[in-house]
Amino acid sequence: MTNDKNKLFQRSLVYELLSHAFARPTLNFMDFVESGEFCTHMVTSLKALPYCGNVDPHNIEVLANRVKALRFDGVLSEYEEITSYKINYLYECNYQNRFSALTEMADIAGFYKAFSYTYSGEKPDFLPMELEFMRMVILKEIRAIANEEGEKVEICAEVQKGFLDSHIGRWIPLMASFLEPFTFYGPLAAFAHEWIQAECTLMGIKPDVLDYVIGEDKIVDKIVDKVADEEQCPVAFVEDWSKDHETLSKLYT
């Protein structure tokens, strides 16, 4: 295996491991984590990727002990929690605007379709599926390199960039912030965040990261305050509201 191909392969392995780690826990996989094999493979892959110097393996190293402490039922319980809070944290479109979420979902599905993949049993914006897509495209790139198909290599490289930039690179940071308090999924998500950041750096892209956190926005309060504070006909404030149109549009449309 050439050096380039090996690096690509190691990248694909990281995506593959992450994809399984964010899927609904199974006894087999949790044994794999608890035995330390998951960490070993992950660290081995990272070491083969020089651009990952900033990715802290500690978040992966702790996972075996976390599984020991929580046991399988505990991890499953955490998984149920992270998929049942105000949003299910593992779906990209739950972070998207409510009124354009399905357009984004269709866009994700468009990536899969273009590269001749279909899906079933899950929505296309499910994190493990997005991670798996990255893995498959990397494998396609390896294949194209092996076959010396330059244009296909380029297409594969571009699509990784595009998918990170439009989708997976945008919402993983926010997801990681939500999952921070969790014993198993906290460090796993932190690792995923650093990994994706390293990938973006590798690709030379800076995705427009989603920073919309439910409950933090004060725009509506501001308008209510304004109406309440000034002794004018409430309807007259419609004009003033329009000044906030741009901000509101961002939120609601």
Binding site: Y117, E122, E216, A228
Partner: protein
């Protein structure tokens, strides 16, 4: 060129490369289109222009939206990359035709409401079932071999921690096996004498055990929820219940002839949608018409019908009618959204609609404003009643040797001869015994001053042809054949006497309606004979006096000849009940399970083995009404114990059941298996044992049909071209799957054969049989209808008139009604009616939602009312507990009644009537928890959830008059507690320290609302209520969401729900064995119990409550709720707002 085969690909996976000790699929989520060469395909360089254009769609397809609001719209889905990105109307309704070429107009367009527009968000929502789930404890009980107590046969409690247990996702096939085993085990356990012994020791009513007659299959209950919303996918559960007869042959070794199937619960009546008095007057399930009839009416009287809110795709008919000049008046308990579409608004005291109608009837009769011709020819008002025994006078009693008339408008058959299939009935079918019991009746002929015999054929012109001039008023003497002289009176005369109590002054006091408004209403009706549309909603139907109200509505309609005319008729609009229009359904739902027809070109041979019962007994502690010394539930109605329950498409049987917390805490622990089909996790799923994850409307792989109550369209669910979003299956596949598992278990192929065409993917065979046998669909072919539907075009049922108007044939073609007399009957002579004092359409006070003594019959001196007294039933007159009230027949005049009080008034704080009508924007529970719908639903919508106490992005609230609120120290937006009768609510036996009580006690926001009168509280109905899981989630989730962390179920309440204050109420006259009524399908007339026609309906608006402040409404419980503090809400207006309301800002 070197290529990567699948083998090569495997090498590139972690498992392949590292030789891992664990195994997993090499691609767990994405499936390569080219399986052999999973990496071999690459797109062109410009792929993004094709696959990433956000504004393009690749394809469109149609699906039918069939929520529980029942309107049913075929919609167009726009698809990009396999994802439904938006939903729009098809604009195909105007192209719909019936078989004869009659075409709908463009005025039906566009047909799509706000719920449908955001439906795709629900298809892809977080609460979708991703597969089939089994509750862990139940799974373990099954795996342990169904262990039971030796003495009483009960399963150990540790397996039944419903609502708090975890769930296992299992393959559908495994779930099929589990359900099959449960059916067999439970059916076997409760069969024969050993089963009866167990049930006796468990404390079931002996009448219920007798009803089982030893068949354990009778404890297996099924319910396809709102079955007209899917005539095979939902009514398939009727077929399942019928199939249980095969199981019975295995359990009891019976022959097919003696086998007994399972039981199926009612629907329309369970939802309190059936207007129970309609069959009492006409024998017909429901007299109604399409809502498009509004445009033919000159006067539209809305009675408790919030048309604009609850009939969204059909609301335009009302507004357009008014634009065309129709006068519109609404009678409601609050100033509602429909009010501003009306010329006059009458706000009445809740539950007093009937008193108002009686007041109007009195004016019409007293001032001779009624249509004498209609009254004499189509009603029983001229018929003579004996004053001694309160029965109709029979010809055989006064005419020696009287021979019953030979009927020309009915086929009289002997019971041993089978009646032809319903779809072939061209006239009524009456069995000879009933015909003999009914006899022929008499009127007093003014011309001859003698009684005159009439028979049930003699209606309309047929009566006129007799040349008889019937007296309407008067007392007469007749001599019976045994020589006795008895007094007789006309029904009209008896009614006139009764109505003396309903003077405009009294009615005004009873109902809070101004005297002028009552008089005006009578005048409007009198001026608009045959052109008044009396549209009745669920408001008055949800009180205990609902049946009497229906009799009053028919009385007013009949007096003004407003029945059966296009433009002049009445209608009750709720639920979905026009299943009678699909009268070929027996072909599918009761096909003989022992002889299923496997030849697709042949018709099936229907044979019913199942039985039906009302779910109200289940919600009444799984028991009939036995009180004092009497069993009030008629023998035809008696339920059996409920041990296994399988329902589909229905949150109403648990999650939105009346008295739901009593059901959960006290009744459901007696049920041993609860199976449910759902695509969206509801409150009912929370308390089930097996939940089959089924397809959403957009994903149906098996086609189906449905119909609606408010329009003439026949809708098809075409096969969906999109992939299933999750690991779901079709509802009908779950039945077929369990049947297959039963075949495997019993080695009996008959179970499997019963669903033969489902396995073959040919559901069309069943649908075509239904079509072929249905009067209104004959001539169609399902494949044609499906093709039309796929192009967005519904078909039309082949009806005699558009709009459809029930009663049109009676009024215009002189056909008899489905009653003993053939006329609309306002007098009820059956013993059950006489002993309750309801032989006349009396007004009864509401049973709980009243400030006065509950359920009292309001009457002056009326000798023809002779109800049984409490002491005759073995309890005391002063017993006013909730069970006694149902059978307590006390007569008082209004002057006496108004001095009394509701018994709860003795307790501090109890003084409010609590109503739960169906609500705006959401209209029923199906879409209400969808975030973008929830925020619109009320004033507490906040997508950001600034206040972490909020259960969701919006929440349940109660409308309260500001004066009432202030009296209780409640500010606008505060959280409050609402407590109903502590005797039995939220559930029997509650204790403050119980965790169940914490879940069940109702907390909600208070909303100042001047549109509700003082003394009345109003909360929208059909919300998702609290469960053990959501309360845990609310208290433990860091974000405070009332969401079950184990299931994702989302409540709109922090605690309790709108059903915390309701209970089961069983009306004695809804449980008779004697009421004559038409069968569901065809024109055969029978009597006694019939599901969705003559059975209890409950009374979910009957609550009397107190309110207590719980928490401040400001964020985090500090201070005032923000909009109230800002001074822009009702009752809290600041100076700016007051000036605005006074129009002081107008230049």
């Amino acid at each position: 060129m070197k290529d990567f085969s699948r083998r090569e690909f495997l090498r590139w996976t972690l498992a392949g490369a590292a030789g891992l000790s664990v195994s997993w699929p090499v691609s767990a989520f994405l499936q390569p289109i080219d399986i052999e060469n999973p990496l071999g395909s690459y797109p062109d360089r410009d792929w993004e222009t094709v696959y990433r254009d956000k504004y393009k769609y690749d394809s469109i397809f149609t699906f039918t939206c069939a929520p529980n609001d029942t309107h049913n719209c075929i919609l167009r889905a726009y698809v990009r990359n396999g994802i439904i990105v938006r939903v729009m109307p098809t604009y195909g309704f105007s192209k719909a035709k019936d078989y004869y070429g009659n075409q709908a107009t463009a005025r039906w367009e566009p047909r799509c409401c706000n719920k449908a527009i955001v439906l795709s968000r629900r298809f892809y929502g977080d609460r979708r079932l991703k597969g089939t789930m089994v509750r862990k404890g139940f799974y373990e009980w099954v795996k342990a071999g169904f262990p039971r107590g030796q003495e009483d046969g009960k399963p150990p409690k540790e397996y039944f921690k419903r609502g708090e247990d975890t769930w296992l996702k299992v393959p559908h096939e495994e779930a099929f096996d589990i359900v099959a085993k449960a059916l067999a085990n439970i059916g076997t356990t409760y069969s024969g004498q050993p089963g009866k012994d167990f049930l006796e020791r468990q404390g079931y009513d002996p009448a219920m055990l007798e009803k089982m007659a030893g068949a354990g299959t009778q404890v297996l209950k099924f319910r396809g929820g709102m079955p007209l919303l899917g005539i095979t996918r939902l009514l398939g559960l009727v077929r399942m219940a019928n199939m249980m007869a095969i199981l019975d042959t295995h359990i009891r070794q019976t022959t097919p002839q003696d086998a007994v199937g399972g039981r199926h619960f009612d629907n329309y009546s369970w939802h309190t949608d059936l207007p129970p008095g309609h069959p009492m007057v006409s024998g017909q399930q429901t007299n109604d018409c399409d809502l498009s009839m509004a445009e033919h009416a000159k006067f539209i009287l809305l009675i408790g019908m919030n048309w604009i809110c609850t009939k969204m795709p059909d609301s335009h008919w009302l507004t357009e009618a008014r634009q065309r000049g129709s006068k519109v008046v609404t009678i409601a308990t609050e100033y509602q959204a429909t009010a501003n579409k009306c010329d006059e608004v009458i706000v009445i005291r809740p539950g007093t609609d009937h008193a108002l109608l009686l007041g109007i009837a009195r004016i019409l009769m007293e001032e001779k404003l009624f249509d004498e011709d209609y009254v004499k020819t189509f009603t029983d008002l001229p018929i003579l009643v004996r004053t001694d025994n309160l029965q109709y006078l029979r010809a055989s009693e006064v005419v020696p040797g009287y021979q019953l008339a030979a009927l020309k408008q009915a086929v009289v058959f002997t019971e041993d001869k089978s009646v032809p299939p319903p779809g072939t009935h061209e006239m009524q079918y009456v069995n000879d015994q009933m015909r003999a019991q009914w006899g022929d009746h008499l009127v007093w002929n003014v011309k001859t001053d003698k009684p005159e015999v009439i028979n049930r054929d003699m209606v309309g012109e047929h009566f006129k042809a007799m040349g008889v001039e019937p007296a309407l008023k008067g007392k007469f003497k007749v001599t019976t054949i045994d020589g006795a002289e008895v007094e007789v009176r006309t029904v009209f005369d008896i009614l006139t006497e009764y109505l003396n109590e309903f003077t405009v002054e009294n009615v005004s006091e009873i109902t809070w309606t101004p005297v002028e408004a009552i008089k005006n209403l009578a005048q409007y009706l009198a001026q608009n004979k045959a052109s008044t549309f009396l549209a009745v909603g669920m408001g008055p139907n949800q009180f205990f006096n609902a049946a009497l109200k229906d009799r009053g509505i028919h009385l007013v309609a009949a007096l003004t000849n407003n029945i059966g005319h296009i433009g002049g008729s009445n209608g009750s609009f709720a639920g979905n009940y026009r299943i009678a229009l699909y009268n070929g359904l027996p072909q599918f739902i009761i096909e003989n399970p022992f002889e299923p027809e496997l030849n697709p070109t042949e018709m099936a041979k229907p044979k019913p083995y199942l039985k039906f019962e009302s779910a109200h007994y289940f919600s009444h502690g799984d028991k009939p009404l036995r009180h004092g010394n009497k069993l009030f539930t008629g023998s035809t109605h008696i339920p059996t114990p409920t041990k296994f329950l399988w329902f589909a498409n229905s949150n109403s049987i648990i999650g939105n059941a009346k008295w739901s917390y009593d059901l959960i805490v006290n009744t459901m622990p007696k049920v041993e298996a609860i199976v449910m089909n759902e695509w969206w996790w509801t409150m009912s799923c929370e308390y089930s044992d097996v939940v089959f994850g089924v397809d959403s409307w957009a994903e149906f792989k098996t086609p189906d049909m449905c119909g609606s109550v408010t329009n003439p369209f026949n809708q098809v669910f075409p096969r969906s071209p999109i992939n299933r979003i999750h690991d779901t299956i079709g509802d009908i596949e779950t039945y077929a799957g369990v049947a297959k598992a039963l075949s495997k278990m019993t080695n009996d192929k008959r179970f499997e054969n019963y669903w033969h065409f489902i396995y073959k993917g040919e559901a069309d065979v069943y649908l075509d049989r239904i079509i072929k046998a249905s009067t209104s669909l004959k001539g169609y072919k399902f494949s044609t209808l499906e093709e039309l539907a796929f192009n967005g075009i519904p078909s039309m049922k082949n009806l005699r008139t558009y709009p459809k108007v029930v009663g049109w044939e009676q009024t215009n073609e002189n056909k008899p009604w489905y009653t003993k007399t053939g006329r609309l009957e306002f007098y009820r002579e059956e013993q059950e009616f006489i002993e309750t004092g309801e032989n006349l359409p009396v007004y009864r006070e509401p049973i709980d939602a009243t400030f006065y003594e509950p359920n009292v019959i309001v009457a002056g001196n009326t000798p023809m009312l002779r109800p049984m007294k409490p002491d005759q039933y073995g309890f005391k007159e002063e017993d006013l507990d909730t069970e006694s009230r149902q059978v307590r027949n006390i007569v008082k005049s209004w002057q006496e009644l108004k001095k009394t009080n509701h018994p709860l008034k003795k307790l501090e704080g109890y003084k409010y009537i609590f109503l739960t009508p169906k609500y705006r924007h959401g209209s029923h529970s199906t879409p209400i928890d969808l975030d973008v719908v929830t925020v619109w639903y009320g004033p507490f919508g906040d997508l950001f959830r600034h206040d972490k106490r909020m259960p969701w992005v919006g929440e349940a609230y109660v409308y309260i008059n500001p004066a009432d609120a202030r009296e209780n120290g409640i500010n606008d937006g505060d959280y409050i507690w609402i407590d109903a009768d502590p005797e039995d609510r939220p559930y029997h036996g509650w204790k403050k320290e119980d965790k169940d009580y914490k879940v069940a006690r109702l907390m909600c926001r208070a909303r100042y609302y001047k549109a509700v009168p003082q003394g009345i509280l109003m909360m929208w109905h059909n919300q998702y209520q609290s469960t053990h899981g959501t309360v845990k989630g609310h208290e433990e989730n860091p974000d405070g969401l009332a969401r079950n962390p184990l299931t994702n179920y989302q409540s709109l309440f922090r605690y309790g729900g709108h059903q915390s204050a309701t209970r089961a109420w069983l009306g004695p006259t809804l449980m008779t064995d004697s009421l004559v009524r038409k069968d569901v399908f065809g024109q055969k007339i029978g009597k006694g119990f019939l599901p969705d026609i003559h059975c209890p309906v409950g009374a979910p608006r009957e609550s009397f409550v107190k309110v207590t402040k719980a928490e401040d409404g400001g964020i985090g419980g500090k201070g005032l709720w923000r909009p109230a503090a800002a001074g822009f809400t009702a009752g809290n207006e600041n100076d700016v707002m007051k000036r605005y309301l006074n129009a002081e800002y107008i230049a």
